[in-house]
Amino acid sequence: MMQARQRDSLFVASVKDSLGGALVAFALACVMVGLKVDVASGRGAELFLEHRWLAVAIAVALVFVVRLGMNMFFWKREDAPSLGLSGFLPKGGLGDGSTNLLKYGMLVLAVALPFALMYYLGSRGSRQYIDLAILVLTYVMLGWGLNIVVGLAGLLDLGYVAFYAVGAYSYALLAHYFGFSFWICLPLAGILAAFWGIILGFPVLRLRGDYLAIVTLAFGEIIRVVLLNWYEFTGGPDGLSGIPRPSFFGLEFTRGEGGFADFFGLKYNSIHRIIFLYYLIFIMAMFTNFVTMRLRRMPIGRAWEALREDEIACRALGINTTNTKLTAFALGAMFGGFAGSFFATRQGFISPESFTFLESAIILAIVVLGGLGSQVGVVIASIVMIGGFEMFREFEEYRMLVFGIIMVVIMVWKPRGLVSSRTPSVALSKNAKGISADLVQEGHG
C-alpha cells in the first residue's frame, strides 16, 4: 500500500518533470526547427519559410520519453542503479597498473600499426587508415604540447593554434623564399614558434585565468587575420602551395634513380612516403612526450605544477613566476611549431583556413577531456575525438554538431577527464599510488 503510493507519486512527479522538459523543448524547437527560412532562387533574394512541424513533434516527444524514462529509473529513485556508462571505467579512473599496461600496449600498437595495416589491407586499402593515424598523432603531439601549458602550468591558452600556424608558415615561407629543406626548417620553426611564444607571453602572463585565455584567443585571431591579409608575403587566402616534401636522409620519395625505393631495392610505391610521415610524426610526438615527462621531474616542472596549484604560495617560496610561466609557454609553443611544420610538409599546401579558433578549441578539448596533465589521456581523447570525427565524414553537416554536444556531455559526465588518476611527480615513497584528481585543486598532480 505504502509502496504503491510512493510508486504513484514517483510516476506523477516524473510525468510532471518530463512535461516541463517537453515544454522547454517545444519552446526551443518551435521556431528554430519548425520553420526554416530559405532564400528563394530566381525570385530576387526573397525569403520564404519551410514548415517542419513533424520534426518539432519528434523532438518534443523524444525529450518527453527520454526524460520520463530517466526520471522513472534513475534520477528520482533513491535506489537507482548507477548509470551503465561509468561501469566501463574502474572507480577513480584508471589505476596505476592498468595505465602502464595501456601505455605500453598503445606504444606497441602504434609502432606496429602501418605494417599490420599493410599486411591485412594491402598498400592501397591501408592508405586512408595510415593517413588517419597520422592525423591522430598530429593531434596527440599538439595535445602534449598544449598539456605543458594548460595541464602542467595551469595557464589557459585558447590561441595555441597561432603557434601551430607560426610553425607551418615558417617552414613554408623559408622553403619558398630561401629553398631551405624540411630538416633545417624543423628546428627553426620550433625556435621561431618558441620565440613568438615568449613575445606574446611576456606581456600577458601577468594576467590570471580567464583573462589570459581571452588574450591568447585574441592573439590567435590577430595572427590569422594578418596571415589572411598580408597578401604579398603569405599569399593571403590563397595560401602557399608546393611546399617541399621531407626526404629520408637525403633520399627523396620519388620514382626512379636515387629515390628511396631505388636505394633500398624496393619496388616504388607511394605508400612509402606515407609510412615515413607516420613514423616521423610518431617520433616527434614521442619526443614531445619524453621531454615533458623528464621536465616534470626537474625543478622547472615541479615549479609549473606548484604554480598551477597556488601562485601566491609559489611567490612566497621564491619561485620566479614570470620565468616559470614563460618557459612553459615557450616550450608549449615550440612543440606547436614542430607540429605545424610537420603539418605543412604533409599537406604540401597551407592557408589561414587551417588555423581557425576551432582548431585551438579542438586541441584544448583533447587536453581537458583526456584529463589535464595526463599524457595517456591525451592519446585516448585524440583517438576518440579525431578518429570518431573522421569516421563520420559522410555526415559532414552533423558531425560538428555532435562534436560540440560530445564535448559538453563528456565534460558533464567526467569533469576531470577520461583519465582522472594521477601519479604524483614527486613522492616520498618509491611505490606511491596514483591519486584521484578530485584531491587536487586545479589540475591534477
Binding site: V31, V215, I222, A365, M400, G404, I406
Partner: protein
C-alpha cells in the same frame, strides 16, 4: 569634419549593439566568474529567431508604419522570450552540473555549447547567408553637402535612431532591475559572495538562471537590431560579435553594467574609425589589440573594481 560626424554616428550605432551583447557577458562573469563562451551564439540564435518571425509575420517595407511598429514590437518580445529559453537551457545543461568543479570545466562546456549551437543552426537553417530587405528606410540629412553638392552628406537613418533609443531604454530598464528590485539585490548578493547569499536565503541557482535569461534576452534584442541594421545573418556571426562584445565588457570593466555599455560604445567607435581612416581588413586586429592592451595595462577595465587577491 562631416566624414568624422558620419563615422561617429555609425560607431555609436555599432557600439550600442556590442554593448547589448556585452551586458550578457559582464553579468554572467560578475555572478559566476566564467566566460559564457556560447553567448555570442545565443545572440546569433536570437537574430535567426527574429528573422524567421519577421518572414512568418510577412513584414515588409510596404507594411503601414503603425502596423510595422506593432509587428516589430511583437517580434522583439517573442524573440526575447524564445532566446531567453535558449540561454536558460544552455545554463541548465552545460554549466549548472559543473558548478563547484574546477574552473576550466565550464569553459570547455561553454566552447562545446558554442560549437553545438553554431552547427545546430547551420544544420537546421542552412549555411547560406539570409539577406533581408530593409524594413525601415529613410533618414535625416544632417549636412547638405555644400552649395555645389561636392561635400560629404551626413546621414542619420531612422534605423540608427531606433537602435540607439532602444538600447538606452533597455539599459535604463536593466539598471533599474539591478539596483532597485529584489532580483537585482539577489544578483548583487550572489556576485559578492555566493555561499553567504545562499546561507541568507537567496536561491542562488534561480538567480543565476535568471541572469542567463536576462543576458540572452538582451542578446536577442541585439540580434534583431543587427538583422535590421545589416540586413543579413548567417550562422557564423556569433563568434566575432561575441569576441568583440567580450572585449567591450573587459574594456569597460567586467562585472559593471555601465562599463559594458561604455566599452561597447568605445569598441564600436574604434572599429568604425579604424575602418574609416585606416584599413577595413585590419579592423578586427584593432579591436583585439585594444583588448590585449587594456588587459595588460588596466586589467580592471575603465569602470571596474580592482580585484583583491585573497589567500
Amino acid at each position: 569634419m562631416d566624414y568624422f560626424l558620419q563615422q561617429l554616428i555609425n560607431g555609436v550605432t555599432l557600439g550600442s549593439i556590442y554593448g547589448l551583447i556585452a551586458i550578457g557577458y559582464t553579468m554572467v562573469y560578475g555572478i559566476i566568474g566564467m566566460i559564457n563562451f556560447a553567448h555570442g551564439d545565443i545572440f546569433m540564435v536570437g537574430s535567426f529567431i527574429s528573422l524567421i518571425l519577421i518572414v512568418a509575420l510577412g513584414i515588409t517595407a510596404a507594411t503601414p508604419v503603425l502596423l510595422l511598429i506593432l509587428a516589430l514590437a511583437l517580434v522583439l518580445v517573442v524573440a526575447m522570450a524564445l532566446t531567453a529559453v535558449w540561454g536558460w537551457t544552455v545554463e541548465r545543461v552545460a554549466y549548472r552540473p559543473l558548478r563547484g568543479s574546477f574552473r576550466l570545466a565550464p569553459l570547455i562546456t561553454a566552447i562545446g555549447a558554442s560549437i553545438a549551437l553554431q552547427n545546430f543552426v547551420q544544420v537546421s537553417q542552412g549555411a547560406k547567408n539570409k539577406p533581408l530587405q530593409p524594413l525601415i528606410s529613410g533618414d535625416f540629412q544632417l549636412t547638405d553637402g555644400g552649395a555645389d553638392g561636392s561635400g560629404f552628406i551626413v546621414n542619420l537613418s531612422y534605423m540608427q535612431i531606433l537602435i540607439v533609443v532602444t538600447t538606452v531604454v533597455l539599459m535604463a530598464g536593466f539598471t533599474y532591475i539591478i539596483n532597485k528590485t529584489s532580483l537585482g539585490r539577489s544578483q548583487r548578493a550572489c556576485e559578492q559572495d555566493r555561499k553567504m547569499a545562499a546561507l541568507l536565503g537567496v536561491n542562488v541557482d534561480r538567480t543565476i538562471s535568471l541572469t542567463f535569461v536576462m543576458g540572452a534576452s538582451l542578446a536577442a534584442v541585439a540580434g534583431l537590431m543587427f538583422l535590421l541594421y545589416y540586413g543579413v545573418v548567417d550562422f557564423y556571426i556569433g563568434f566575432l560579435a561575441g569576441v568583440k562584445a567580450f572585449t567591450a565588457a573587459v574594456l569597460g570593466g567586467i562585472g559593471s553594467l555601465p562599463g559594458a555599455m561604455l566599452g561597447g560604445l568605445l569598441i564600436g567607435l574604434i572599429e568604425t574609425f579604424w575602418s574609416g581612416y585606416f584599413s577595413v581588413e585590419y579592423k578586427d586586429v584593432a579591436a583585439f589589440s585594444i583588448l590585449a592592451i587594456v588587459l595588460i595595462f588596466m586589467p580592471e577595465g575603465l569602470l571596474g573594481q580592482p580585484e583583491v587577491e585573497k589567500v
